[in-house]
């Protein structure tokens, strides 16, 4: 890292840039390198999550899944990427060209930007923002614009229906998600993701999944709904509205939507791991477990939750639209409200308050 920065500094000095511009280039390239260090492995993980999905669902349905490209199908995602890159991007007639192109970008941008505040290890975070929990919540809520704009700009009835469904669904589940995060905030006494993980240090009994068990379920279910994944994938709903909001998209624009969906899966898994499963902390803080590097623990927990997303898709049938709304408003939100009140009273009125911290 330092040697790369030295090379960049040497280059700017050699070109003869003015002093202030040199410092800007220094700061900019330093952050850019950090962003690349996070984004490139994330993109590889996204590519192989699609492969994992096809394989896992394949085995769950007693099939083999993709096994033609490369040894045991391991080069399949690369083949898919190359295929999608060479496909033509078709603009529908009377579509709004600018919004049609910008919609996939708007859906992947927040999914990547949220990784800026994810702590991978003690001190290993791109930006240790104080209100990082709020930042995450704000960014995940902005992701819906990609879907809505795509549905509207496509000038297609099916896409529009998908966008409308997605908008209503995401706005409803965001409230439950926000309330679940309020519980985490109350337990940790901080909005900083790093502090939240630190507050859960110790063994697996110190993780927030135990005092916040109902909120954990609410958060994870809302997370599945927020990513528009099965069983809440009414925005796509292949059997009802073909492919929903991205029915008119082809080639790379479609691929970007696809990447955004899987990046969101990994993001929600990471957040669940950080807020409820102790982030980078090992199960037990004793010899064989804490030999494994912390980051491996975090990645393992992320993979564990990502597996759940694939499992759900293979298991559950799609919810009907009114059932989704009912679950969000009449089940999940009351559960979170009751648990928040219960937690608050237990923390300040009973001697068992420590259990929730």
């Amino acid at each position: 890292m330092n040697s790369i920065m030295d090379i960049i500094d040497g280059l700017t000095a050699w070109v003869g840039l003015p002093e202030w511009l040199q410092s800007w280039v220094h700061a900019g390239s330093f952050n850019l390198i950090l962003v690349i260090v996070i984004t490139v492995p994330l993109m590889v993980a996204v590519a192989y999550l699609t492969f994992a999905e096809r394989k896992i669902i394949g085995y769950m349905q007693a099939r083999i899944g993709p096994n033609r490209v490369g040894p045991r199908g391991w080069l399949q995602p690369i083949a898919d990427a190359i295929k999608l890159m060479f496909k033509e991007i078709i603009l529908p007639t009377n579509a709004n060209k600018f919004l049609f192109i910008i919609a996939p970008i708007l859906s992947i941008g927040p999914a990547l930007a949220a990784w800026a505040v994810i702590p991978f290890d003690d001190g290993l975070v791109l930006a240790n923002v104080d209100a990082s929990l709020l930042y995450i919540l704000a960014l995940t809520s902005v992701g819906v614009y990609g879907v809505i704009i795509a549905g509207w700009a496509s000038n297609s009835k099916y896409a529009f229906l998908g966008a409308m469904r997605s908008a209503a669904q995401i706005v409803s589940y965001e409230i439950a998600m926000g309330f679940a995060l309020v519980g985490v905030l109350m337990a940790a006494g901080s909005l900083n993701l790093h502090d939240i993980v630190i507050a859960q240090s110790g063994n697996f009994t110190d993780w927030y999944i135990w005092p916040l068990l109902p909120l954990f379920f609410v958060y994870f279910i809302s997370g599945v709904a927020e990513t528009n994944r099965a069983p809440f994938d009414v925005a796509e709903g292949e059997s009802e509205i073909v492919a929903g909001f991205h029915v008119e998209y082809s080639g790379m624009t479609f691929a970007v939507f696809f990447l955004a969906e899987y990046a969101n899966i990994i993001l929600i898994s990471a957040l669940t791991a950080i807020m409820f499963l102790g982030g980078w902390h090992p199960i037990w803080d004793i010899a064989p477990f804490n030999w494994i590097p912390n980051i491996v623990w975090l990645l393992g927990k992320i993979a564990f939750f990502a597996f759940f997303f694939l499992w759900f898709r293979a298991t559950f049938p799609r919810y009907r639209y009114d059932q989704i709304m009912r679950l969000g408003w009449k089940v999940l939100i009351p559960v979170t409200l009751v648990w928040i009140i219960f937690m608050g009273s237990a923390m300040y009125l009973t001697p068992y308050g420590d259990y929730f911290h």
């Binding site: 919004l99 919540l137 704000a138 902005v142 819906v144 908008a167 009114d322």
Partner: protein
């Protein structure tokens, strides 16, 4: 000009541009999207003022929820734009007069001798441990607790009023009752008849 000032001018210029587009652009969906851009830039300006809680809450509430519902409604409306722009010239003198008056009043109040840089000294910087969110919460739940609670109560009343105004039950809608659906048992839907087997003729 330092970096912060440069950022301020970029965000402020984009904010003014986006706000102008909201009221001049013909397409209502695009106008709503420009309003989203305006909110984002306002949030960025707040971030420059070290008010990160307000900035992120602005994005969370207005961009993430309010504008989504706005777009939802605007996209479904079939607005006749030509009709909407009728009578523009008719209202221009009155509207222009109000606008000029507003501008004058604001320039009197926000002039240099009241809000100038000498009047408003630069606030002292905060140390790294300072948490904007924590300070806001502490003030809101201690010093301003009654106004806060009253505001919350008014909002609840408004929500209930809005729901009760728009809620109407139509007899003709074919909506399902999930409770009844769950209560249904196999014997309500299915009748198994025992029949003696018959010999083939």
């Amino acid at each position: 000009m330092n970096f912060e000032q440069l950022l301020f001018f970029i965000f402020a210029a984009t904010l003014v541009f986006a706000a102008t587009m909201v009221i001049t652009i013909r397409n209502p969906v695009k106008a709503a999207l420009f309003l989203v851009l305006a909110f984002f830039n306002a949030a960025a300006l707040w971030l420059l003022l070290e008010a990160e809680f307000l900035a992120i809450t602005l994005v969370l509430v207005y961009v993430g929820a309010v504008m989504v519902l706005f777009l939802f409604v605007v996209m479904m409306l079939d607005i006749n734009l030509v009709k909407l722009r009728e009578g523009f010239g008719e209202y221009l003198p009155i509207g222009g007069l109000v606008g000029v008056l507003l501008l004058l009043e604001m320039s009197i109040i926000l002039s240099d001798n009241l809000f100038g840089l000498e009047r408003m000294p630069e606030p002292a910087g905060h140390d790294a441990a300072y948490s904007n969110t924590r300070e806001l919460g502490r003030l809101l739940y201690t010093f301003y607790v009654y106004p806060f609670e009253i505001a919350a109560l008014i909002l609840v009343v408004a929500i209930i009023a809005a729901i009760s105004l728009t809620m109407r039950k139509r007899k003709t809608t074919k909506h399902q009752n999930p409770g009844e659906q769950i209560k249904v048992q196999a014997k309500d839907r299915l009748r198994i008849i025992k029949m003696p087997s018959e010999r083939r003729p």
